[in-house]
């Protein structure tokens, strides 16, 4: 009999032995080493064992009787120490075993982040039954932190949660399972996990694990500290190749094999996760089984060759229905087909290239997954069915995407009209009670009867309830990505509590994978205005000026404008500006209409340095580039002017200090004039204050651009404090309600000044608006110059590489 030694009893070698004993019983005398003190079991079923849905006994694939029946000598719990290829002998802890042919199936080792504290008691990986049992042994209520939001980490998290632990998942990239899923599917997965009580933190980088001997907490790069009794590292695996390396076999990223699974030694073979073939590594079970089959044939001296195939992924967490297959990495000439059904939480995306399906991601409804997978694997020509492909094999006559889906998905208690507090259920009641047009619904419920921005949504509720009996007057959609108008999107972000861009794209049925240059900046603004604490501003969704904090000029250079509070400056500030202008070769220095100085023609890569210099002199960004507060123009008021009635300069500075840094739907300019002679031109500003003997006249909705308009009176108040309160409340109302890129005068034309005056006249509403504005300012009132001069972010203003230098060397 031929002596075959197998090192490692994993899924690949288990399958190999089955093939060998079935095809040629009695031909091999097998010795099976395994470092784990047990034989082959179905490792991919460890997750159901962890969650309690299966027991270990149920996942054993080969028991003692099976090994005995096939004459396998089991050396379980024994590590192989050495392979002597010249003598063809394997050395274990209890002695040598000679072989004729050898199979290395050592699998992989979990990767442990080498951060401080990784060796503390209570920090474990998730790889084998012992790891699983250690997790199972934790008492309910244990605080567990799972590092890694990939397949393995999430299965561990779900299992631990089912065992009653408090679970937090930390994931380095922006969305879960980023290798298999796109952000939209990642968002749905996250929502599903959060519904089960699992906390998820993305872009979370672990800096250290704290504890005295035993783990006590996990500390993140941003300083967050998460108390923890158990830390599970599931950040990835590395092929286990030490033994092969020490024996002199050719090892790249893993043990290199040919298509017959032969290593650089003709009598030594390798199979499974420890193998590298044609530059590829393998971690999923399907290719490992293919390898086992090929290796069995090779050992039986039959011809066979391994060819890697397309793979698909499913997550083994009961109730999380996701599917991902094929290739999403870079390629030419690709096109996406996206389908979303917000009501049912379904997302599907197909990637098509050259009339072939090359990738598919699905969430919520994965029934067609295998059909799509088949199309990918077989490279089927899909040109004929391209239009209806996304509906799956059952289609033919299926519906197109329903533009009313987002509204249809709203629960009955979702608020449609914010002004009058009317929810969807109330509107449906009214419709069913006979109110079958907009006017009747308004009469019955007051919905859309105040500012009117929810009119589109009320119409959609009418259409969804009445069907063909109601025709919607088409509102202008935001862009080609959606049928919803800006007003609809704003309202739905509030009533459905959508707090991320993927949430908006999914729940509102966006037709593109991640929006476009029109909708992204708008949605980014709506989210940061409505959820200042929960939502994080996305620089990649901002127009260049707001990302670079400088105005781009037609030659690609930038302008730099420091803030001059109320137009007041000093000799030392002017000196710092002059020095910066000289040092950075600024070609043009100009006084702006907003009472400050513009340095034009600064090179992009110089921005962080010039900002640092200006910062050092106490100057901060003037936000001359932003959809936000620009300047507060003032006259000199009572300080110097013989006509001045109030301290207009002081009030201007006070307003500017309160409002700066806030993002608004469009730019906002203010002015304060000290008397009706109006030297500060306050009557053509977004908010213009004219001081009179008896107090302050606050006007709003002025403009002096493409349209020229005079302000209309918002209020007349007696004190500076009241002026500031009304101004802040007005700006916040504008921030919460206006369409992106509508200046206040355009917004006022839609909602009516009367509605604004009514709303702001209520002291409680006014102070609530001020409170919300101030809360937002706790996040956003920071000098972007100071933020971006830090070395890390400053680097991003420079080219990533300069190949002109390299070539010269």
């Amino acid at each position: 009999m031929e002596r075959l030694v197998v090192i490692g009893a994993g899924m690949a070698s288990g399958r190999l032995l089955e093939h060998l004993f079935e095809a040629a019983p009695g031909r091999f005398e097998v010795t099976l080493f395994n470092a784990e003190p047990r034989g082959n079991y179905n490792r991919i079923m460890l997750s159901p064992v962890l969650s309690g849905e299966k027991s270990y006994a149920e996942i054993v694939t080969h028991d003692d009787d099976w090994y005995a029946a096939h004459g396998v000598t089991c050396r379980f719990g024994e590590r192989v120490q050495h392979i002597d290829r010249d003598r063809k002998v394997v050395t274990g802890a209890t002695g040598d075993v000679p072989y004729d042919r050898l199979v290395i199936a050592t699998g992989s080792d979990p990767f442990i982040i080498p951060c401080p504290g990784h060796d503390l008691d209570g920090v474990i990986s998730y790889r084998d039954l012992d790891d699983t049992n250690r997790m199972i042994d934790q008492p309910p209520g244990t605080r567990a932190v799972v590092i890694g939001g990939g397949l393995l980490g999430l299965e561990a998290a779900a299992g631990l949660r089912l065992r009653g632990m408090e679970v937090t998942v930390l994931h380095l990239s922006g969305h879960l399972m980023d290798r298999q899923l796109d952000p939209a599917a990642g968002y749905l997965l996250r929502a599903d996990l959060e519904r089960r009580g699992i906390s998820v933190m993305t872009q979370a980088s672990t800096s250290r694990i704290r504890g005295e001997g035993r783990v006590e907490a996990v500390e993140l790069e941003d300083g967050t500290i998460l108390p923890a009794d158990l830390v599970v590292m599931a950040v990835g695996i590395r092929p286990s190749v030490k033994l092969a390396q020490a024996s002199g076999l050719t090892v790249g990223r893993a043990i290199e094999v040919d298509a017959q699974m032969r290593t650089s030694d003709p009598n030594v073979f390798a199979v499974g996760e420890c193998v590298e073939f044609a530059g590829q590594l393998f971690g999923l079970v399907a290719p490992l089984y293919d390898q086992a089959k090929v290796l069995a044939a090779t050992l039986l001296d039959e011809p066979a060759a391994f060819t890697p195939k397309q793979l698909s992924t499913k997550l083994k967490v009961t109730g999380c229905d996701l599917f991902s297959a094929g290739d999403f990495s870079d390629g030419q000439g690709r096109e996406d087909i996206v389908f979303r059904d917000p009501a049912r939480g379904i997302y599907k995306r197909l990637v098509v290239a050259d009339d072939r399906l090359v990738g598919a991601v699905m969430y919520g409804d994965t029934a067609d997954g295998n059909w799509f997978f088949g199309l990918i694997r077989d490279e089927t020509d899909i040109a004929e069915m391209r239009e209806t492909l996304i509906f799956g094999p059952a289609y033919q006559g299926g519906s197109v995407q329903d533009p009313l889906a987002a509204v249809a998905a709203l629960p009955a208690d979702a608020e449609i009209c914010g002004c009058n507090g009317v929810c969807k259920g109330r509107i449906i009641e009214a419709i069913e009670g006979g109110a079958t047009d907009l006017g009747a619904v308004r009469g019955a419920t007051k919905a859309s009867a105040s500012c009117g921005t929810c009119t589109g949504l009320v119409e959609q509720v009418l259409a969804a309830t009445l069907g063909d009996a109601f025709t919607i007057t088409a509102a202008q959609p935001v862009c080609g990505c959606t049928d919803l108008s800006h007003e609809d999107v704003r309202r739905l972000i509030k009533s459905r509590e959508l707090k991320s861009q993927p949430a908006v794209w999914q729940e509102l049925g966006w037709r593109t994978p991640n929006g476009c240059h029109v909708c992204r900046p708008a949605v980014n603004f709506y989210l940061l205005a409505d959820w200042p604490l929960e939502y994080h501003d996305d620089p990649q969704s901002r127009f260049v000026n707001e990302r670079k904090h400088a105005n781009i000029q037609k030659d690609g250079t930038f302008s730099v404008v420091p803030r001059m509070w109320g137009g007041i400056t000093s000799a030392s500030e002017l000196r710092a500006i002059a020095d910066a202008a000289e040092k950075y070769d600024v070609p043009t220095v100009k006084v702006t209409g907003g009472q400050r100085i513009d340095l034009l023609g600064v090179k992009g890569e110089d921005l962080p340095a010039i900002w640092a210099d200006l910062n050092a002199a106490g100057l901060v960004s003037g936000h001359a580039y932003s959809k936000g507060l620009r300047t507060v123009k003032t006259c000199v008021g009572t300080d110097h002017c013989r006509f001045g009635t109030q301290d207009s300069t002081g009030l201007g500075i006070r307003l500017e200090k309160r409002l700066w840094g806030s993002w608004t739907p469009h730019k906002v300019k203010l002015a304060v004039s000290g008397c009706p002679r109006n030297c500060a031109e306050a009557t053509c500003k977004d908010v213009g204050i004219v001081c009179v003997d008896s107090g302050y006249e606050i006007g709003v909705g002025g403009a002096a651009g493409m349209d020229v308009r005079e302000v209309e009176r918002l209020a007349k108040v007696a004190t500076e404090d009241e002026t500031v309160e009304w101004t802040v409340a007005f700006v916040q109302l504008y921030r919460e309600h206006a369409k992106y890129l509508d200046r206040p005068y355009k917004w006022l034309a839609k909602v009516g000044l009367d509605w604004v005056i009514d709303t702001l006249s209520d002291p409680a509403t006014r102070s609530a608006l001020v409170e919300r504005f101030d809360l937002s300012q706790t996040i956003y009132q920071t000098d972007p110059w100071a933020q971006h001069t830090a070395r890390e972010t400053a680097r991003s203003f420079a080219p990533i590489a300069d190949l002109t230098l390299e070539a010269a060397e």
């Binding site: 000439g333 620089p539 990649q540 037609k554 690609g556 590489a801 190949l803």
Partner: protein
């Protein structure tokens, strides 16, 4: 092809871009997803706008100057606009971004 390592994947933000200076002019490096990179000329064929400063969406970029939209895969102008920008082969290996040096040299020789 001669692949040149130009930096770490993590140095380019998702749906963002960075610049590479070369003898053939500036090349913009776009990261469209966690694992997808494209390289094109940084110069908009319309009025020379810096494309690396544009908003990246799907596999496209919008020029910050006049909103021309370019396909990062083919270099073709999208929508009603007509034109083409150069594209360059790039790939990702072990978290590093590699660009085809020959393609750049061909451009600078031409």
């Amino acid at each position: 092809m001669s692949w040149i390592d130009i930096g770490a994947l993590g140095d380019v933000p998702v749906r963002g871009a960075r610049l590479v200076k070369t003898h053939a002019g500036c090349i913009a490096l776009f990261r469209t997803t966690e694992t997808e990179i494209f390289a094109t000329s940084n110069t908009c064929a319309h009025k020379g706008g810096p494309l690396s400063e544009g908003i990246v969406h799907d596999r496209k970029v919008t020029c910050p100057l006049h909103n021309w939209v370019w396909s990062l895969e083919t270099g073709e102008a999208q929508g009603a606009d007509q034109g083409r920008i150069a594209t360059y082969p790039v790939r990702i290996e072990d978290g590093r971004i590699l660009i085809d040096g020959d393609a750049i040299d061909r451009r600078s020789a031409a």
